[in-house]
């Protein structure tokens, strides 16, 4: 018997015009989408707007959801499309103060300084990667997308997704290491 509180069951209800479950879906998935946008755009305020925009589209285009399909993969697909729209009108490497003030995973604003410095360097290295590799790493390691989900998003095989993630990680390490020394 399908779980009535599964993402897919909730989204099916939304699709049929009961919008209340969208709130629970937002609770579950907005942090992941926020991280995805924050670490790809490196803009806090913009990332918040983009998360809202994804869920606006979920409500507006709810009829396009295919019952039973993975809601997470569907949301990530909408997020990628929204991000592509954003890049179409802006320079992804345009710097901002948000780059310097990105919040830490630590609940305190500054956190442990050494860890904070490592986070800052890592984030800067991520920012120096080509946008496509950055997006792939954020999807796989920060948004938590599986290889299968990445393969579906990029319309590639799972093995190709594995290789692309490995190579993006190698590129990140190459950029990060000189700054670690």
């Amino acid at each position: 018997m399908p779980d009535a509180l599964s993402d897919e069951a909730l989204m099916t209800r939304v699709r049929e015009g009961d919008l209340d479950p969208a709130g629970l879906l937002f609770e579950r998935h907005s942090p992941t989408l926020y991280r995805f946008f924050l670490h790809t755009t490196r803009r806090e305020a913009l990332s918040q707007d983009l998360v809202q925009d994804v869920f606006v589209r979920v409500l507006r285009y709810r009829a396009s959801y295919r019952p039973g399909a993975s809601v997470r993969a569907w949301l990530l697909g909408i997020a990628r499309n929204r991000l592509a729209d954003h890049w179409a009108g802006t320079d992804p490497d345009d710097p901002s103060v948000d780059d310097l003030l990105l919040p830490s995973a630590d609940p305190s604003p500054l956190g442990d300084l050494e860890a904070e410095e490592q986070r800052r360097r890592l984030d800067a290295a991520l920012g120096r990667l080509p946008a496509a590799q950055r997006e792939l790493l954020v999807l796989s390691h920060i948004a938590g997308a599986s290889y299968a989900e990445i393969a579906a998003l990029y319309t590639i095989t799972v093995n190709a997704a594995r290789v692309r993630v490995c190579r993006a990680l190698q590129a990140l390490r190459t950029v990060y290491l000189p700054h670690e020394a």
Partner: protein, 247 residues
């Protein structure tokens, strides 16, 4: 098995490896080293970039969901994408402003009011100049800003100057100019970051003046970080210790 055939499995856990891939990793020192390097990088990524989502996300969406439900009830076609996104942007800003006002009672609604920013392009251009004296002039011009709520772009430019400018004098001037906006969370965060990370005593003293004036609740950790520096100027140390006790 070749290295390229094993490449897709470089990030997999040991237990998940197919036997032939595991055998290859056992034999191939290059792959083993690469696998270890990548898994270290992978762990760092997960540990350091797991950023929490801001609290303002939820109320902004709740407002929009209610609007969508009303639209549905009226069987009315929703507004255009562009209009809806602008509306959401407004809600996020208002939600953030209300949250801070009600929780901290510190941020002024004046920030959200429109203003005349006619002089800003000149100031911003000065702040981005290659010449330290020109940047200093830009900071001074920014500090002469008489509006209570300057555009965020100006405050952000001052923060970038404080955190990245190579000139000590320019950083100190930027910090003094930012003191006028100590009620803004991002300004407090930027100054505390400068306090914790800047090694120049002049900047440290200016940041301590800011802390004394604004008493930011997040200051204790930055003060602790400052005091842990072994070569701290005695005057800076003394002032930081006084503030640590008093805050």
């Amino acid at each position: 098995m070749t290295c390229s055939a094993a490449e897709p499995y470089l990030l997999d856990d040991e237990a998940d490896l197919p036997p032939d891939v595991r055998a290859h990793f056992d034999e191939c020192a290059d792959c083993r080293r690469l696998r270890q390097d990548l898994r270290e990088t992978q762990a760092m990524l997960r540990d350091h970039l797991a950023t929490p989502a801001p609290e303002t996300l939820r109320p902004a969406f709740a407002a929009h969901l209610e609007e969508a439900k009303r639209d549905l009830a009226r069987d009315r076609p929703p507004a255009s994408d562009r209009g809806a996104v602008r509306s959401i942007g407004r809600r996020v800003r208002w939600a953030a402003a209300f949250a801070v006002v009600f929780i901290l009672g510190a941020m002024s609604m004046v920030w959200l009011q429109p203003r005349d920013g006619a002089e800003e392009p000149t100031v911003l251009a000065q702040l981005e100049s290659d010449s330290p004296s020109e940047r200093l002039a830009g900071v001074m011009a920014a500090s002469m800003e008489t509006e209570e709520a300057p555009e965020r772009s100006l405050v952000d430019a001052l923060l970038i100057t404080l955190l990245t400018d190579p000139s000590v004098n320019v950083r100190v001037a930027a910090l003094d100019a930012l003191s006028a906006y100590g009620d803004r969370e991002r300004v407090r965060l930027g100054v505390l970051r400068a306090l914790a990370a800047d090694s120049e005593p002049l900047v440290q003293m200016a940041a301590l003046r800011f802390v004394e004036a604004h008493q930011p609740p997040e200051a204790s950790q930055a003060l602790g970080a400052l005091l842990s520096q072994p070569d701290l100027e005695p005057l800076v140390r003394s002032q930081a210790e006084i503030l640590t006790v008093s805050i």
